[in-house]
Symmetry: C2
Subunit: 137 residues, 2 copies
DNA sequence: TCTGAGTTCTGGACTAAGTCCAAGTTCGGA
DNA sequence: TCCGAACTTGGACTTAGTCCAGAACTCAGA
């Protein structure tokens, strides 16, 4: 009884359109971190005439719903992550590739006296590295 | 015998120009996180005809030398940090303001079995929050 | 099944941040 | 002082993303 991204869009009161279906299908079940343009390319395999604007707007809806995560990495285009359970990321600063870090690492809590009166939502740990491919070149 | 940013540019073999002087002076001694355009505005107070391209290139030189840090925050313009001692950041996701987190927090190390064969350079912790001003509006 | 109001989609224009480059200027070692 | 290498400039360009007016579609209700 796996509920798909598409089912959950419906539950949130969005209309079911061929475009949302295509974007959901492009993301469903994958475990990589795609850019908006990569999502657009995959969605266009299913629905060739889908526009970039619609892909962006659907990605924002899914992010707003908490069904995917939007990852903003250092000067590069954002990437979208269908894995929403708490995890951190390992990033190649040279080519931008991202791996999940699933186990054994928890972000330390922010001491209250450092909070500057701000409401802290979450702490994320980003590991900056260089991948094998980039090291070789 | 405090060595200024400018002195250190000289030590790295760069020529001393009025433009580098102006950028160094714009950054020296401050403890806030300026965007490139803000640095340009401050530098232009000292040297009105300085160009954006030169400010960008000087910021990159200083970053390359390790004399300032380039902070890339979620979809916004990069910010430049003259404080290079290890510290983390607390970011308002709504307006982009950044505070330093100096004490009591260390990023956890990445377990070897999670490294995907990559050479990890550093771990940073980013605290995502909403500042008082943004909460009020 | 049909309708229509409200939702959604489209494509193209637009913006913001940053990069690139050819031409002119300046620095500083000899 | 001289001169080549280093540097700066301003404007064109790129990339990622936003915005919008008009056209198309969805789905609740009759
Ligand atoms: Mn992930
Ligand atoms: Mn800082
Ligand atoms: Zn890489
Ligand atoms: Zn704020």
């Amino acid at each position: 009884m796996h509920t798909s991204l598409l089912d959950r869009l419906r539950l949130h009161g969005y209309r079911l359109t061929a475009q949302r279906r295509a974007v959901a299908e492009a993301l469903d079940g994958i475990n990589v971190h795609l850019t908006a343009d990569e999502v657009h390319a995959r969605a266009a395999d299913i629905l060739p005439e889908i526009s970039r604007a619609t892909v962006y707007s659907t990605l924002h809806e899914l992010t707003e719903m908490g069904e995917i995560l939007e990852l903003g990495i250092e000067g590069r285009s954002k990437r979208y992550d269908p894995t929403t359970s708490p995890h951190n990321h390992l990033v190649c600063d040279s080519c931008g590739v991202i791996h999940d870090v699933q186990h054994g690492v928890a972000a330390p809590e922010l001491p209250l006296n450092e909070a500057h009166g701000m409401a802290v939502r979450r702490a994320e740990v980003v590991y900056h590295a260089t991948c094998g491919t980039c090291l070789a070149s």
